[in-house]
Structure formats: C-alpha cells, structure tokens
Symmetry: C2
Subunit: 387 residues, 2 copies
Amino acid sequence: MNKKNVYMDHGATTPVRQEVLEAMLPFFSELYGNPSSLHAKGRDVRKAFEEARRVTAASLGVEPDEIYFTSGGTESNNIALRGAAKKHGSGHIITSSIEHHAVLDVCKDLEKQGFSVTYLPVDKYGLISMEEFESSIKPETFLVSIMAANNEIGTVQPISEIGAIAEKHKILFHTDAVQVVGQMPLNIKELNLDFLSLSAHKFNGPKGVGALYKRKGVKIDPLYHGGGQERKLRPGTENVPGVIGLSKALELAVGELPQKAEELAKLRNRLIEGLVRIDDVVLNGHPEKRLPGNVNVSFKYIEGESVLLSLDLHGIAASSGSACSSGSLDPSHVLSAIGLDHQTAHGSIRFSLGRGNAEEDIDYVLDIIPSIVDRLRQMSPIRKESC
Amino acid sequence: MNKKNVYMDHGATTPVRQEVLEAMLPFFSELYGNPSSLHAKGRDVRKAFEEARRVTAASLGVEPDEIYFTSGGTESNNIALRGAAKKHGSGHIITSSIEHHAVLDVCKDLEKQGFSVTYLPVDKYGLISMEEFESSIKPETFLVSIMAANNEIGTVQPISEIGAIAEKHKILFHTDAVQVVGQMPLNIKELNLDFLSLSAHKFNGPKGVGALYKRKGVKIDPLYHGGGQERKLRPGTENVPGVIGLSKALELAVGELPQKAEELAKLRNRLIEGLVRIDDVVLNGHPEKRLPGNVNVSFKYIEGESVLLSLDLHGIAASSGSACSSGSLDPSHVLSAIGLDHQTAHGSIRFSLGRGNAEEDIDYVLDIIPSIVDRLRQMSPIRKESC
C-alpha cells in the first residue's frame, strides 16, 4: 500500500480553509487601519470588524455585545475564571478533574490565592455526576466550570443539566467549548451559560484568535489593562485579520452542521469498530456521548508514543495525550481520572477526525495499524512481564 | 491639487509588508501543525517557529530563550509588570505619568492590590528627570517601567541612564518599546534592561502578535495558565503565522536601520518646519530627542478632531491623541502632563510617518493644511472668545 498523508490530529489544530484565508487576506496590507482610528482607513476596518462580531454572534445564537475577541481558548478561559474570581474576591469554585490545563491549572492558581475549589471526579466514561455536582455546591460557591467535551477522550458532558442546576443555585456557569464549537450543534441560550470559550484554530480558522461569550449583565473584572478595547475586557489593538478569519470559519462550520457532525461520527464509528477488533485494544471515553471526531484507544502492553511514531512513518498524524502536554512523561490526568492504570494510559492514542478526512483514510489507518501493534508487542518488555 | 491617499498614522498601526505576508502564508493551510505535536506536521512547524525565535532574538541582540511571544504590546506589558508584581507580592513601582495605558492603567490596578506606585512627572518636552527618578527609589522598590519613546509626542527617554540607575539600586527595569523597535537602533544588552515589550504591527508586521524580552535569570510569576507554552509564561497554542510574520518584519526593519531612521527623520523635519510656519502652531515633544517618524503639533484655537476629519476628506490619515483613546472627550494625559492647557491639548494632531511615506506626501499635507486651519479658525467660537 502506498504511503498516504492522513491528518487525524484535528483536536490539536486544523488547517485554515481556503475561503477563510481569502477572507483574511485583504486585512493584512490593504485594509490595515487601526479600528480605533477616526480616519477612513480606521473606520472601514472598524465596520468590517464589527460585522465579524455580528456574524460570530449570529453563528452562536447570541448578541454581538456578548462576544469578546481574545487570542485563543486559553486566554478566554483565563479571563472568564480569573475575571469572575477577581470580581468576587473570595469563595468557592467547582470544576472537574478532567478539564484542560487552561481551566485546571487556573483553578490551582486560584487556590493559592485563597479560593477553594472542588474538582469533581468522573466515572469510567469521563462523565461527572449531577448528584455529586449539586451536593458540592456551598453557600459561597460562585462559579462552576465544566468543559462541554473533553479534548482527549471526547466525552460530552450534560451541560444542559449542569446549566439548570447552576441556574437553580444562582452560580455562574462557564464552559470550555474549544472542542465543541464548530463540531457539534450548540444552543448557548438554552444552556443557561454565562461564559463560553472557543478557539478559531480548532474549526479551520487561524491560530492566535479566539472568543469569549459572556452573557449580558454578568460582571467580571478585567485581568489586563490597556487601551480599553473589547469594552475594557481584552485590551490591545484588535487582531483584525484573525477575527475576520474566526468569524468566517465559524459561519462556515456552523452552517455545515448537523450534517457534517453526522458524517464525522460515521467515520469515527468505522475507525472505532476496526480498532477494537484488534486484540487488547480498548476504547476510552463514552461509547455514544462523545465528540463526532474523537477516537481514543489504549493499545495494551505498548507505549502510545511508539505507536505514534510508527504511524508518523506511514504519514499518519495522531496524538498521545493532548498536544499541549506531549513530550511529558506523566500519564494524562484525564486517563488517570477515568481509572486507567499507568501502563494502559501510556498505551493510548487519540485520532481526532475533521474536515478532509474520508473513508479511505480510515481504511488506510486500519490497514497499517495491526502490523505496527504486532511488531511493537513483540519487542515490548511490558508484554513479556505481563504474559 | 488631486486628492492623494497619504497614510501618516504609523504610530497607530502599519500595513503588513509583502515579504512578511509571503513568509506567513504557508503557515495557514500547509504548515498548519501544532508545534507541540510529535508527528512530522508538528515537528516541521516547531522547527520553523524556533527559527523565528532565533531570528527575533538575533535582531534584538539577545538570546532565543529570552524571547517570549505574546499577542501584542499590551499583553507583553501586562505580563512583565503584573508578573513581577505577583512574584514580589508587595512593594513599590516607579513609572512615568506619560506611559501608554497598557502600563499606566496596570500600575493603577496594582495600587488597588496594595502596591505603591510613583508616577514621575515630565518636563515640558516629556522627559523624566534622572534626579527625581533616583530620589524616588525606596528600599521596597522592585521595578521601574519607563517607555523607550512616547507614542503621542515621540519623546525618547534616556533609557541608558535609567538602566544604569536601576542596576545600581538593583531594581528591575522594564521598557515599553512598542514605538521604538524597528524604528530606531536599540541595544538591549547595553541598556541594562530586564524586560522589553514590542508589537509586530508597529513595524509592518501583523496585528495580534508581539513579544516580551525577559533577561535570563529574571524570575516572574505567570498570570495565565494552560498548556505550558512559552516556558509557561504565555500558554496557549502558538500563533505560528503571526510569529513568523513578526520575525520577518523585525529582521527586515532592523536590517534597514539606521539608514531608514535617518530618512524618516528628514521627512519628519520637513513636515515640522512647514507646520510651525503656520500661525499659532506649536510643536509638542522634544525638538531633537524624538522618534524619527513622530510629529505632534497643536493648532491653537481649533479642535484637533476637526482638523483630523478635514484631513481625512483630503485622503490624509493622521490622529488626535492615541488611536486607543480616540473618541474620548478627555484631553490626552500625555499632553496634560507636558503642561498643555485643555484647549491647546484639544487642538493637537499626531502625524506618524513610516515606510512608504515620501517627500511628496509631506508637501501634499503642507499644501492642504493652511486652508483647513484658516477655515476652522474662522468658524471657531474659541477663536472669537480668545481674540
């Protein structure tokens, strides 16, 4: 079989779509004014920029003045969590043990500043329990932050139920939806969300730009200060080409839902079915409540990183753990939280499908993998010990 | 005279150079991997990204591991000041009264958090006094932040002297060099700098990307948390195309110095000489110690904003106050600090020259302005009162 280039790491990042790049291009060297400038070159750019905000808001079903553009998902998460904490001064926050580090490590830092934090455990599928969540709410709880779907194992949380409980107890609700926006339909207004974080480069937009949805009327304190851009919540000259790209990518991605999600889920299921047919391969995450593009499996008795590098030699790009912590020797905190032992966690691989993947890519991967697994298991010292 | 398009607002932002855009383009849709990914698509991008860091560092005469990429000048300033403050916990900071809001308003926020801040006054040219600076240093002073050159009036501070005093008293020295980098030669290592902030879109690079120089060995606390990128100081998936663009723009701009600065200064002087020949027009800022591209004048008895809009009708883009606070009715804090009365401050215009400006642009502006000023003064109620 000829070597193919198959990109299955869309959870880490995605290529910018041609239509998105074309929309951005005029804003580098022609429409380059500072949107805060009063002259025509500034005003023209301000107009395009606010139109991008309108498109972004419409794609999410929210109001334009509920959208704050940021440099990405990490910044959106930090602004929401730290901004709410700064506003409240003290109190209790609830989150889960499988959040991305951009939520988890912010919470740990807030603990150092005197806030108390509950890290909800998850079951073997990666789901938090609504009973545990509700019983962890204290009088001083002001915020809950639960990711819409996990970046490693793809488990989709019941954010509608979380939102209803948060509403009942009058606590703010933030969700890190970086993996969900553009990949699954989402109705912010039905979810009782106060904040939602998104990142353009996860849905075929450019890197370096994201957005925070903040419900109208919800007050938080800014973290950074400067020229007052984004209604003082995110100062700094606006990343105009980036925001134009974000809005275009979001409009296109949302416009293709739910059909695109169904197509992806079909490919995902085909890949899962093929993989679990291999001996000692187990699926991580929930069998149904999972991102349409996410496949995460453990290859027992071998190192995920060795599988990854062998796949790479065949032109297949996948990931072990999340891209952000690749290279680390610690097992993923997510895989540990769902109860995987150290060894099984280390044998895990994420294939994240997206735009451009087709059935033939799946079949190529399924053709290649068995021989890789066989070869690595024959070489594996773990295998020998375990058998 | 035919209407021309003359952009003289380079202090607000600049167009991206073609060479810069071309360098960026492959990184949107072809070399799109996440630099943290272990597969070939990630490794190739990591390699290019670290090469961009090396070029950036070399252009500034520093080491690659002293460069931290950010989303722009505002973020760089916030990370340096707040990061040093978080590390120290308490103490005293010295800054000037004419800093950009991305320093000034950070200091005001730090005061609310219990830090004490001295805001050094400036003389009529916008210069701080070395005696006042040194005598304001207290045992608990840990940081001084003085901009390399002012964004509104262009005054260049004696940062070499400031650095020597800071070194003597063992306090950290940060400079906001957003207006200087790429426009004037700068030798970081000779200046005893601990931190320097820069922004790509001020030197014909893209918006949404900047850098912080932090001297090796200087410890600060991170403000945001996430995937650990930029050695944990600035987490979030790297803005690869933006950083490639920054490094290319910086390399080109620095490579053209000092000749480019001399050419700009010639144009600047021609514009200043022509403007001050008009009745009741005064130059703001220092006659010699000023940015090569900066011209700031007050047109007495008229509103700067009216001049600006009239210029705009003739295709000339300039600014009143800084772009960040355009639209505000408060007089500029910089113009107030150099002693301008409210009325004169409101009659001020900044022309900021840059790449692409030529003698004929200067002459066009000088041809147009007298009639604008005449007409506005005839209509001016202030003029009537004052005469």
